[in-house]
Amino acid sequence: MTGGTLAIRARGLSKVHGEGQARTRAVDEVDLDVPAGQTLAVTGPSGCGKSTLLHLLGGLERVSAGELWLAGRRIDRLGERALARLRRRAIGFVFQDFHLMEELSAVQNVELPALLAGRTPRTARRRALDLLDRVGLADRAQRLPAQLSGGQRQRVAIARALSNAPLAVLADEPTGNLDTAATNDVLRLFDSLRSTGQTLVIVTHDERVAATADRVVSMRDGRFVDDVHLPAASTGGLGDLLGLGG
């Protein structure tokens, strides 16, 4: 039995890329427990294995070794079809470059996962419009991605990730292409997701994103080297940040 309140549980999770000389242990025997509702940030230098870890957690790549559970269900040994089905229904992915379908409108992008999961067009559309409203883009539903700003595109992508009420949203450098204002919009959105109990794993090298998570894991060479829980409320006054004295 595994704990029912864990959204994600991994033991000895490993991924080896390449052969011979080019062999890389991108993820190296990682243990990870993510309680349901937690916002977890994974940080570390480029090439340390963050994206690979996220791909393993979401079933985009097969594990080389180790065990993986999603909401108590063992998923590392699922067959391809079962894994594809799980990816579609239980995981919401968000990528740095949005991965929106350029020829589809915002609302069509958002409803796509629900349609693929077998929802009726009416249900899918209604839910997509609700989600666009939730990310503050109700008035942009009919726009094509090319007609939206980077921040708006990422919010469409986040709405799409929520389409099937996933067990976890997995985001890979979601603010990597965004300016400060758009980054803050996305962070406010993540905050509102957190308040609804959404489990969120965010790979990022943006310290602002990491600082607003509940917990920050640091990776180096495929391993976790630090694991910090950030306090919910500030300890000192904000004025301490300025050092304005008499």
């Binding site: 310290e207 602002r208 607003t212 080297v225 950030l230 000192g236 904000l238 940040l241 304005l244 008499g246």
Partner: protein, 175 residues
């Protein structure tokens, strides 16, 4: 703080509480720790230094709020000098931390990487406070602009700690 209060007075003769309101408008949540006392203490010091003059108004001379403060000629000159001056706080804490790591390693007193971890955690906590406050501000607010500056500085410090970690981890094993 003295220069800030002088500059706030440059607009027009004002009561202490009016200065405090102007300060709060500019600082937003960052001004919460500045109590009213601080403004009055500063005004008293400025008056002693001849940079500010005060006149009592109204019928309650016992209430400090009834005092209206104004800049003297010397006060005006000081404000002009302050605005023209390029002051940028140096960061002695960088050199101090750098030397702390070197000393800790040389005397085998502590693992530099442990010290770096402790600092990263503390800076992350501060960044969390600043970023949360920034998210609570509307886009384009004055306080949000100041918070963006605080956030950018903390990010720069965190990046430097990353460089420290990279170099120092090449000087020995992480436990």
């Amino acid at each position: 703080m003295q220069d800030v209060v002088l500059a706030l007075l440059a607009k027009e003769p004002s009561h202490g509480y009016e200065l405090r309101q102007r300060l709060r408008a500019a600082l937003g949540p960052l001004g919460d720790t500045l109590n009213s006392g601080q403004v009055y203490v500063t005004l008293t010091r400025l008056e002693k230094a001849g940079l500010v003059s005060s006149a009592r108004t109204g019928g309650r001379p016992d209430r400090p709020d009834r005092k209206v403060y104004d800049l003297t000629a010397a006060g005006h000159r000081r404000v002009a000098d302050w605005l023209a001056e390029v002051s940028w706080t140096p960061r002695p804490e960088l050199a101090e931390f750098h030397l702390k790591l070197a000393a800790a390693r040389a005397a085998r007193l502590a693992d530099p990487l442990t010290l770096i971890d402790a600092h990263r955690r503390e800076l992350m906590r501060r960044l969390r406070d600043a970023q949360r406050a920034a998210l609570a501000e509307a886009d384009g607010s004055m306080a949000g602009l100041l918070l963006e500056g605080v956030v950018l500085r903390l990010r720069a410090d965190l990046r430097w700690l990353e460089s420290c970690e990279r170099v120092w981890s090449g000087h020995g094993e992480r436990s």
